[in-house]
């Protein structure tokens, strides 16, 4: 029972972490909460559904194409809704993000429909027994492995690559980064592309796991992932990963023992953490104000 809840929690948490990374990366560079990210994730699930339909049971091509398409969607959202507001107060950009969120979810309802759609089978399900009462299936394993691989790749990208360095520099001081010859438009585009493509991957994984894709799925998942990002310390990449895992595990245990209070307990944990560490668990120095 406990092992089973832990497995479910880690799996759910790794998906939260993938989505949370999109919030935290955009916050790091742009200093606002991209509330449209949950809906970008939802579109990722729809892209995955269509791709799985046309490509059939090939997981890797579906994953890669989903990530590319969702990444492009994220870049487009930025161009349309945020780029014209580059120098506007952050509250204005956040409001624009809320508007974009509504536009994206309504667009999905208009173009695709408001029903819940099944995800075409990418894999046949096999169960593996882990001890007397715990079961894990191959889709859960795939979700977990994919999430971990993507996070390792992201870490490598941020720490080692040229644009990763530029993203870190811009998180610390955007103006100086620009004056040192970094093209901020490109950095912002790369940030949105990477963050959104991770959201798209999460959309595919969740769609596969629950075998359901629908136009409002971005709302709850987005809110949870946002909570996870805050919990870990927004702006911090390891924070988002850890916050996602923690939230997923807490939520599952709460659901198992106090089923009606599942979400309430998840948010209670966030409030408790923030009371003692207002910057989140991985309080990144990155966004401390320069004196």
């Amino acid at each position: 029972m406990i092992l089973q809840q832990l497995i479910n929690g880690i799996m759910l948490g790794s998906v939260y972490a993938l989505i949370a990374l999109g919030y935290t990366m955009v916050y790091g560079v742009m200093k606002f909460i991209n509330f449209a990210h949950g809906d970008v994730y939802m579109w990722g699930a729809f892209f995955a559904m269509f791709l799985a339909h046309f490509l059939g049971g090939q997981f890797l091509p579906v994953l890669i194409l989903t990530m590319i398409l969702t990444g492009i969607l994220g870049v487009l959202v930025e161009r349309v809704a945020y780029k014209p507001l580059r120098r506007a107060p952050r509250l204005v950009v956040t409001t624009s993000a809320l508007g974009m969120s509504i536009v994206l979810s309504n667009l999905a309802r208009l173009l695709i429909g408001s029903a819940t759609y099944p995800m075409p089978k990418v894999l046949a399900v096999h169960d593996f027994k882990l001890g007397p009462s715990a079961v894990i299936n191959n889709i859960q394993i795939l979700v977990l492995v994919t999430a971990v691989v993507l996070m390792v790749l992201l870490n490598w990208f941020v720490n080692r690559s040229r644009y990763g360095k530029a993203i870190r520099a811009a998180s610390e001081d955007q103006e100086t980064a620009g004056l040192m010859g970094v093209n901020m438009d490109n950095v912002v585009s790369v940030t949105f592309f990477v963050g959104s493509s991770l959201g798209g991957a999460a959309g595919l994984l969740v769609g596969m796991y629950y075998d359901a894709v629908y136009s409002t799925m971005g709302y709850a998942a987005g809110l949870k992932a946002f909570t996870a990002a805050i919990l870990g310390g927004i702006g911090s990449i390891p924070g988002a990963m850890f916050g996602g895992l923690l939230l997923g595990i807490v939520e599952n245990f709460a659901g198992a023992f106090l089923s009606n209070y599942r979400d309430g307990i998840a948010f209670l944990v966030m409030i408790l953490v923030l009371l003692f560490r207002p910057g989140g668990l991985f309080n990144a120095k990155i966004y401390q104000k320069r004196v």
Binding site: R162, A177, L179, M180, G181, V182
Partner: protein, 261 residues
Amino acid sequence: MAILEFERASVHFGGVRAVDHVSSEIEQGKITSIIGPNGAGKTTLFNLITGAYKLTQGDIRFRGQSVARLSPHMVHSLGIARTFQNIRLFSSMTVLENIMISTHSKLKPKVLGIFIPGTFKRVEENMKGMAEKVLVLLDLLPKAGYHASALSYGEQRRVEIARALVSDPEIVLLDEPSAGMNVREAKELIKFISQINKDLGKTVVVIEHNMRVVRHISDKIIVLDHGCKIADGVSEEVLRNPKVVEAYLGHSRLTTYAHVR
């Protein structure tokens, strides 16, 4: 030959004329100092050159081409690099990374190449090579792996200069490089600035308050006060100019006879 020309350059913030109708020239291959009391508009002028602020009026031309409408990274890629009055290193990154950042505008391909593994590796190594060369020049190689915030003040200043030099710019803008330095460090700085100018062949523009430094290095001095240019020319001449003396020391019978030493 003038490499950088100001033509009635002005920037107004509301009613404040931070820089007002400044016309002057920076000669290629020379060291030019910009001096003036606090709030005279010296750093603002740097911000105008580098595209951090936009001109309200007038024009600034680099090799005859206007830079007034360009964004900061474009100005940087043309070959104008700078340091800051208050150190502005990326404190959570290592010294090497700080310097690698500044090679961005010199690198190709711009964006899509980051997803091609071979190109990616070549570009990264290229960046690192450029950064290490500058670190050797500034005697900072042993510190390459340190976090920028772990370095001493003087070292951080050197990292800033390294960061300005790594992109091999035509013009290096130094904003109060001797700030916070003692006499010995200032002397070393004088030597180093001449080295940048003579050995590396860079055009150098320096904002300085330390008259000892200004006197030693300048081929030309531009004096600003309240956003306006009050004098420019060869150093001794400018420093004896009564208007300059007045801007620095105020007007009284005593200062009429004073020389800025």
